[in-house]
Amino acid sequence: MTALADTAPGETRARPSFYFRYLVEPYLYLSPAIVLIALVMMVPLAIGISYAFQSVNLLRPFETGWVGFENFQALWSDRKFWLALTNTFWWTLGSISLQFFLGLGLALLLNTQFHGKRLVQALVFLPWAVPTFLSALTWAWLFNPTIGPLPHWLAALGILSEPYNILADPDLAMWGPITANVWFGIPFFAITLLAALQSIPGELYEAAEIDGASTWQCFTKITLPFLAPMIAITVMLRTIWIANFADLIFVMTGGGPANSTQILSTYIFTTAFRKLDFGYASAIAVALLGLLLIYAAILLVLRRKLVKI
């Protein structure tokens, strides 16, 4: 096809050979990206997986070597691991569902017409530009009864018996990072879903209106089916991303109190960063990766069944 185009005008000029076009030229453009990704991500990934089967502890440098599945056996009987797994599940589910529904609501609102739309759009997307560590610190401060208003408001509403810091309460602490994550994540869903909404042909709605369809019917029969592929892909990517997302929890609670906010990714980080036990940290990471792959596979199968393109 492209080879044919080459034979058109200007044929006598040095015609790029077939091999150059198909084997060399694309790789000239790609090589920096390939080299960096291979060296900085793929090689360490392979090393990381191999660490899971070794004893690599910088604090005990003489006990290195292959240990087979010992790290995984330790993992199986590690109570903290199972607790972190449960916490990961609630953290991810709570964050993703609130982010998604609030983000969808915002995208639908922004897809209508109103005064000051440009300004409103810039303002509501702003949390996304806030560096994560700063969102975490800001929300941690808001939940602090000394300087933050939230505990006082919650107490006034009767949700808390007295204004105390929920980040220090094992039963409620997880809501702190979840709130921060929802605040931070709504704009992502709003932006991507808004982009998808704007690509729905307007004629469909006009036709539906002529046929006397209600707003709700338009939403379920036109909007949702058009959004479905986008929803499937963004929810999948965000779930994986949130399950891996350690920054907010690490800054806000450090996994505490009493490990009540310890999720797998913060557990990986603290094991590597504080205990310098790279072997065990890698074993947890491999377990998390396996779980996420299973999740992604299930979602892709569901998507193929539900969404027919």
Binding site: Y22, W141, F250
Partner: protein, 280 residues
Amino acid sequence: MRNFGKQSTVAVAGKYLALGFYVAFALFPLYWLAKIAVTPDKLIFTDGTALVPSSFTFENFRTVLLHTDFLAYFRNSLVVSLGTAAITTCIAAAAGYAFSRFDFRGKRLIIAAMLITQMFPLLMIIAPIYKIVAAVGLLNSLTSLIIVYTAFNIPFATFLMQSFFDGIPKDLEEAGMIDGCTRFQALRKIILPLTLPGLAATLGFIFTAAWSELLFALMLINSNDTMTFPVGLLTFVSKFSVDWGQMMAAGVLALVPSCLFFIFIQRYLVQGLTSGAVKG
């Protein structure tokens, strides 16, 4: 962009109420950050949860700028983020162009590899990277952070750039090549000027990502001279954990670069996504 014509006043009021809720939810934490930052130290506790401080001061900002290592952290972060953004954008533009314009052997394999890098927990490679960086003697250097961040951001930036290139008709550069340009000249003179919004969006994206990265910076940097902003602020918080006004002032200052970038790119963002990235 559609209007259902006759909307009841209740619906309109509800819509503005909902929008008001979203705006308030988005802005309130930032407002509070700024409020505490300008409240004089001795009023922080007495003012408590009052929405507006009874007097203002910029003393906290002055202290943070002049009497702490804040400016050094800020400079380090700026170097790392700008370096990462510039290098990543160049590399990703080249790679995205290759994906958009060529069919070649191994294309699917490379795309699959890039997708995989987006799937696995980055924390998984934190230990190997630490050991490698330590082995080549780059611990505590900003160069190591730039290299690591660049690699992390290339896959996403490449897909983003590919979608921008996909939005530009092939005929344009083919016309240029028929007129005697080489492909590279056509890319530089015809295509790149058209992708400027795309390049800007990618640049901003990567800048903010690099600006906020915390965990790898925490792992790879522990000397005070080369700390980036997130690491510096976190040590600041644990060291002087009672000086609320100063911490918040530092926080407000940390917001400035990423918000500036964001205001600059946000209109390209939806436009860019609409024009290609997620269609289909």
